[in-house]
């Protein structure tokens, strides 16, 4: 069974982060929300494996609970 990678796996993360910001540049909140949603589906389709996706959802949720400013 496949396992979600939670170790650093993005080549040149600063570049990816800049690309992400650039993609959202000049967009309204609604347009950005829509772009993010489309991006989730594109990435999820690339992953495909339901078990990995399940782990990804869990990891994203887990990180939210760890945020001390909001707890």
């Amino acid at each position: 069974m496949s396992e979600l990678t939670l170790k650093a796996n993005i080549d040149r993360p600063d570049d990816f982060y800049a690309d992400l910001l650039a993609a959202h540049e000049g967009l309204s909140k609604a347009e950005s929300d829509a772009l993010n949603a489309r991006l989730i589906f594109v990435l999820a389709n690339q992953i495909g494996d339901r078990e990995v996706l399940r782990q990804a959802l869990a990891a994203a949720k887990q990180a939210m609970h760890r945020d001390p400013a909001r707890s």
Partner: protein
């Protein structure tokens, strides 16, 4: 012209039960002469089980209502002897379009699998469907089969006891009482029988209203299913256009929650909505208008002693996916053979509890699917709308997103995984025909496999030896001898053998697989028959 749904088809007639001093006893009473009640009664009568059907009305359903009938119910109707009329009259379709806002996002073709007698779906008004069932009941009656359809007969009291069910029936001549050994309640989502027995019906209510308009028009639209998300003519809502026979078109418009239903139903309000959709110049006539809300819910148990619930009376789903009438027909398909064996005293009464187990499982599957369709079509939060719209935007450009678009997952039969009736399986055989699955049709010789299955236990052998007949304590199992060579297309082998060289299938009377092996073993067969009939 008087429409079929305005014509009394089974007007009230006085029966001798009304003159009897004591309530007359009947083996089976079916309450409700809708599609499910009629199918149940026809199946019983075909097997010479006397049945009385009671219905407060005397006509088929008003308006088209259920319009989409799937392959499995058509196969059940073939077994009941009236599938051909439905298919001949029905509109067949495979193509569809999905629109988002003012643009078409994609086309689809259902591309039904080859090698099946029946199409994936037909569209047919419920009134025709019921009319053909009434006709079938009349033919059986004329052949001397014990079926008695009583219109104008409203059940107003039900007293379910351990040894029978006492009912009061209201008629134009006043009330009378009858007793039934068994009652099948097919009296719809609002089931008065369920209420009279004080039984639960819980689930999820969807806060939305839909306007259904059936219009008669000579239109240039193709025979396709068109579905709109957030169209310009119905902002923020959804719409559906689908063709039925006789140039009747089904139009379904989501209206939202805060509306005045009576006002919205008036033609002066409906017609402008339809013109906005069909064009100002469209010429059409309104045949039927209705506003519905819906719920996804079911009874906790479908069997309550000698009263057994089927169809919408037992479970209700949203209309997306055509899972109402289609699943109801599968209820009675599952129930009738079991009830017959119990009535003959050949199997323990507890076999009927497997109806509960198998059809509750199917109802849960239908509720899950139709709830998910509803959540996609009518997003319940800002975030769910963002995701929904993202899928539709992606679907316009990329194929990968199209399977995520959910405008109704059309009805497919349940496989009774985990059923107490299931026997042994073989790993190298195809999953789709595993124990619990409905038989998959395939070409056989000059005909079709499914026309040779049903109504009794059968041992289907494919390139394998077995006795022609085996009696298992009063239940006769008849061999159906086949060879992979009977189907040059290879579908039979692909669907039933897979990697195996030979196959032996124990088939139930409802054409579901009970057990399978690669070679015959009498002890194992006997054990599987006993398992499949609730004896173990």
């Amino acid at each position: 012209m008087t429409k079929i749904f305005e014509t009394p088809l089974y007007p009230y007639e006085r029966t001798k039960d009304q003159d009897a001093a004591e309530p007359v006893r009947h083996p089976v009473v079916v309450i409700g002469a809708g599609p499910i009640g009629l199918a149940a009664a026809i199946d019983l009568a075909r097997h010479d089980v006397p049945v009385v059907i009671l219905d407060e009305n005397d006509k088929v359903s008003w308006g088209s209502r259920a319009i989409c009938f799937a392959k499995r119910p058509l196969e059940i109707l073939d077994r009941l002897g009236c599938g051909q009329e439905m298919v001949d009259m029905g509109v067949q379709w495979n193509l569809g379009k999905v629109f988002f806002g003012d643009r078409k996002v994609y086309d689809f073709n259902l591309l039904p699998e080859e090698g099946h007698h029946r199409p994936a779906f037909i569209n047919l008004q419920q009134y025709y469907f019921e009319e053909y069932l009434v006709n079938r009941a009349r033919v059986l009656e004329a052949e001397g089969k014990p079926i008695n359809l009583r219109g104008g007969s409203k059940v107003t009291a039900v007293d379910a006891k351990d040894d029978g069910v006492l009912m009061t029936v209201e008629t134009p001549d006043g009330p009378y009482r009858i007793i039934a050994d068994w009652v099948i309640a097919c009296d719809g989502a609002g089931s008065p029988v369920r209420s009279m027995m004080g039984l639960d019906f819980v689930g999820r209510v969807f806060e939305d209203n839909f306007l259904i308009a059936d219009v008669v028009m000579e239109a240039g639209f193709p025979t396709e299913r068109w579905f709109w998300f957030d169209p310009p003519f119905n902002k923020g809502q959804s719409a559906l256009l689908h063709k039925q026979p006789d140039n009747v078109w089904r139009i379904d418009l989501q209206l939202g929650w805060d509306i005045d239903k009576e006002k919205e139903k008036k033609p002066e309000n409906v017609i402008p909505r339809l013109k906005a959709m069909l064009g100002e110049d469209a010429k059409f006539e309104l045949e039927w208008v209705s506003i519905y809300t819906f719920q996804c819910r079911r009874m906790e148990k479908f069997r309550h002693g000698r009263v057994i619930f089927a169809g919408d009376a037992a479970h209700q789903v949203s209309p997306f996916g055509a899972r109402g009438a289609n699943s109801g027909l599968q209820d009675t398909d599952n129930l009738i053979w079991k009830l017959k064996l119990v009535m003959e005293g050949k199997v323990p009464e507890t076999l009927l509890d497997s109806y509960d187990a198998e059809r509750v499982h199917a109802a849960d599957e239908n509720i899950l699917n139709s709830s998910r369709s509803t959540d996609f079509i009518t997003p319940k939060s800002d975030q769910s709308r963002i995701f929904r719209d993202a899928v539709l935007d992606l679907a316009e450009h990329f194929e990968f997103a199209r399977p995520i678009v959910n405008s109704g997952r059309l009805s497919v039969p349940a496989t009774y995984d985990g059923s107490p009736l299931n026997g042994p399986d073989v790993d190298e055989m195809p999953r789709r025909t595993r124990p619990g699955a409905p038989a998959v049709d395939a070409p056989v010789g000059n005909g079709w496999l499914l026309s040779r299955l049903g109504d009794r236990f059968q041992l289907m052998t494919i390139d394998a030896e077995a006795p022609d007949r085996i009696d298992v304590s009063g239940i006769e199992v008849e061999r159906l001898e086949l060879s992979a060579k009977d189907d040059p297309s290879g579908a039979l082998a692909e669907r039933y053998l897979g990697d195996a060289q030979a196959g032996i299938y124990l088939m139930r009377p409802d054409q579901h697989v009970a057990a399978r092996w690669t070679k015959f073993n009498e002890a194992e067969l006997r054990s599987a028959v006993n398992t499949a009939t609730g004896r173990i």
